[in-house]
């Protein structure tokens, strides 16, 4: 419950950042007279590289070869300038993140005919997440007003996800970890942890954005989830698996929406 409260607090905090920015902006050396208080609505395409990683990091397999798959993400973004150097923004992006990997796994728990067993050896891993990601962020511009950094929380609704480990060679402990009770053979079933995955995520996003032209912007982001990709009561992972990914995105600002109600900002 405490965690949920923290997530909600962080998400709401993002709403306060623009206010703080606005207060700062009025005192900024750059005049706010030129600020055009319009929502900018844009579309964006991009791709993500990443997946879920074990935290603490010591649980990352000692030999791990990831093969990320680049899937196209599609989304829309809304930006509102608060001052000349501060913007706030929100996005809605539909994305699929896929990563395959070869790994040397140690004592991975799984269930076989109602008993818990432990697999160690080499395995192919596959994970993918199809999600609707909704970041809300504050954006700060450098003096050239072309380069920007952004920071804010995100919420993601995970619509489809899978996490499968396909053992290639190794052994199984039936009585506990670090036991060799059975040799893995090629007919061994995959370990499919998909049913134990949670349907939402929340985390923080840090990014850099460069204005390429009047309408085009290039964005680079790094995001990290705060919550385990699996249900809290899952019994297969003794550590958290958190979303971590890098994103490259190109956005195109379609048009600005002038809202009379927002003109009051111009009077400040």
């Amino acid at each position: 419950m405490k965690k949920h409260t923290l997530y909600i607090f962080l998400f709401l905090l993002s709403g306060l950042l623009p206010s703080a920015g606005r207060a700062e902006g009025t005192a900024d050396s750059l005049s706010s007279d030129n600020v055009d208080y319009r929502f900018a609505l844009g579309v964006q395409v991009g791709t993500d590289v990443g997946g879920a990683i074990p935290v603490p990091f010591r649980h990352i397999p000692e030999t791990f070869n990831p093969y990320p798959k680049l899937d196209l993400s599609l989304g829309a973004k809304l930006t509102f300038p608060v001052t000349t150097r501060w913007d706030v923004g929100a996005e809605v992006t539909y994305k699929t993140i896929t990563m395959n990997a070869d790994a040397r796994v140690e004592n991975q728990k799984f269930q076989d005919n109602n008993t818990i067993e432990w697999f160690s050896g080499t395995a192919d891993m596959h994970m993918d997440f199809t999600m609707l990601e909704i970041p809300v962020y504050a954006k700060w511009s450098f003096r050239n007003l072309k380069d920007k950094v952004l920071l804010g929380p995100y919420f993601a609704l995970v619509m489809k996800s899978s996490f499968v480990i396909d053992p290639i060679k190794g052994y199984i402990g039936l009585t506990g970890p670090d036991e060799m009770d059975s040799v893995v053979d090629e007919n061994m079933d995959d370990m499919d942890f998909s049913p134990y995955m949670d349907s939402w995520d929340m985390g923080v996003l840090l990014g850099y954005e460069r204005k390429l032209s009047r309408r085009f912007e290039l964005g680079l982001r790094v995001s990290m989830g705060f919550k385990d990709i699996f249900h809290k009561d899952n019994q297969y992972f003794d550590y958290n698996m958190l979303h971590m990914r890098g994103t490259v995105v190109i956005s195109y600002n379609l048009f600005d929406i002038k809202s009379p109600r927002l003109l009051r900002f111009a009077k400040d």
């Binding site: 070869d102 040397r104 005919n113 160690s120 080499t122 190794g170 039936l174 060799m180 059975s182």
Partner: protein, 455 residues
């Protein structure tokens, strides 16, 4: 620009230096094994033999040798990732008997396990017995235990007569080179505690061992009281719960349990465990639904997904056995299922249909002589290479309510061939007599315990 180039170079180096999973070695081996010390200190350790994945410590048998404790130094190949099992390289090795084995696994970088066995090998004392024979001994079983200077004699055609005992004549002993053996040329065992003594003096005159010869009961298949069950790895029923195949796959009891159906399970009975065999409907994937009888038998099970529609071809009946028992005895009860059904082929798939009748359980024993030029593969039907020497059976007729209560049963074995010696014995219990024809009543239950071969 220079800064970016340096960064790019660093990242490239990092990527190149990442160890590839595909490069991890499958190899792991013991490079050397050395005995550092042992208890009792008076024990004479000669050599350590390393043959493949077996390590044998050669020790001279002596009194009060066991438990024999060894501290050793083992080095493994550089591609060995870890050592798991009863010995990981640092513990004391404790052998409680001369036949004790200590098993461990070397795990290669890739995770590939390599099984190793540590055992003891009796070295020459100079006062050993190599062979013990007597008139007609070729038709008996003689087991020499060099560790404890014991010899066991058993006779498949005769048990120890309480009135007359069991007499052996024309005794001959082959002892160590130059050793002198003192013994009578005949002996009568009055009972199972009675023994004859043979004193063997080594050629050097310093070592003398007194050997004892006993008459013993004959061999029973291990775990015939069905107390031990579990999962025994992918090679045994694909790691599905089954009966303990002790002393090893194809040498003890087995079930046809597999990923698709569990027909044999243990249950608590009279302070221990017994076997419950249940006829079930099995989903055979592309072949449709089949009737699968619960079965328990000597031999092993080898699943073949392509043969799900021919269960007999996956059941290999029989374990090595060279004696001629008179009968098979066991405790059992049988309750037929409600409705007799049959899986009938319709096109490529089987469908379950109700049929007239009531189900019956089945217990049978076959003594087989197998042609040694062929790999043993007996499926309970006429096979090229199999000669049926003797057999017996009981059909547990589902109409007979007497079978619904526990009873003690005996199957007398009728021999039809006395010329050939048995090589294998197949003992089978099935909850549906015609299970191999996919006829049975789902829910038919046969419970079995305490199987014993009677000589």
């Amino acid at each position: 620009m220079k800064k970016y180039s340096a960064l790019f170079l660093l990242m490239s180096l990092w990527l190149v230096s990442c160890e590839k999973v595909s490069d991890l070695s499958d190899e792991a081996s013991v490079v050397s094994f050395q005995v550092l010390s042992h208890t009792p200190e008076s024990a004479v350790v000669d050599t350590v033999y390393m043959v493949g994945e077996d390590i044998a410590i050669s020790v001279r048998p002596q009194e009060d040798l066991f438990p024999f404790t060894v501290r050793a130094a083992m080095t493994t190949s550089p591609t060995t990732h870890s050592v798991l099992g009863d010995y990981t390289g640092s513990e004391d090795l404790v052998f409680s008997t001369g036949t004790s084995e200590i098993n461990f696994h070397l795990i290669a970088e890739s995770g590939q396990p390599h099984p190793y066995t540590l055992s003891l090998y009796p070295s020459e004392t100079g006062a050993d017995i190599k062979e013990f024979t007597f008139s007609g001994s070729e038709e008996t079983t003689v087991y020499i235990d060099p560790w404890n200077a014991l010899i066991y004699v058993s006779d498949p055609d005769s048990s120890l007569d309480a009135d007359n005992g069991y007499e052996i004549k024309g005794i001959k002993v082959l002892a160590s080179d130059g050793a002198v053996a003192e013994y009578d040329d005949s002996f009568t065992f009055e009972d199972y505690e009675d023994y004859m003594e043979i004193t063997v003096s080594a050629a050097d005159g310093q070592t003398t061992r007194v050997w004892k010869v006993y008459f013993t009961e004959l061999y029973q298949i291990p775990n015939s009281d069905f107390e031990s069950w579990g999962k025994f790895g992918n090679d045994i029923n694909n790691n599905v719960m089954t009966i303990d195949p002790v002393p090893g796959k194809g040498q003890g009891w087995a079930t046809a349990n597999n990923t698709f159906v569990l027909g044999a399970e243990p249950f608590d009975y009279q302070g221990g465990k017994a076997a419950r065999l249940t006829t079930r409907i099995q989903d055979a994937i592309v072949f449709g639904d089949l009737i699968a009888a619960g079965s328990l038998y000597t031999g092993y099970f080898q699943i073949n997904v392509n043969n799900l529609a021919d269960s007999r071809s996956m059941t290999y009946f029989g374990v090595p056995y060279t004696l001629r028992p008179a009968a098979l005895e066991f405790d059992a009860r049988y309750v037929p299922g409600d409705t007799l059904k049959q899986a009938v082929k319709n096109g490529y798939r089987y469908e379950i249909q109700d049929i007239e009748g009531i189900d019956s359980g089945h217990a049978w024993i076959h003594l087989i002589h197998w042609d040694s030029s062929k790999d043993f593969a007996y499926h309970g039907r006429e096979e090229d290479g199999a000669t049926l020497l003797g057999s017996g059976e009981i059909i547990f007729d589902g109409n007979n309510s007497a079978y619904r209560n526990w009873g003690h049963y005996r199957i007398d074995i009728e021999y039809t061939n006395y010329e050939l010696l048995p090589t294998h014995v197949a003992i089978v219990f099935s909850s549906s007599q015609k299970g191999d024809e996919y006829i049975g009543a789902p829910g038919s239950v046969m419970e079995v315990d305490n199987v014993q071969l009677i000589y």
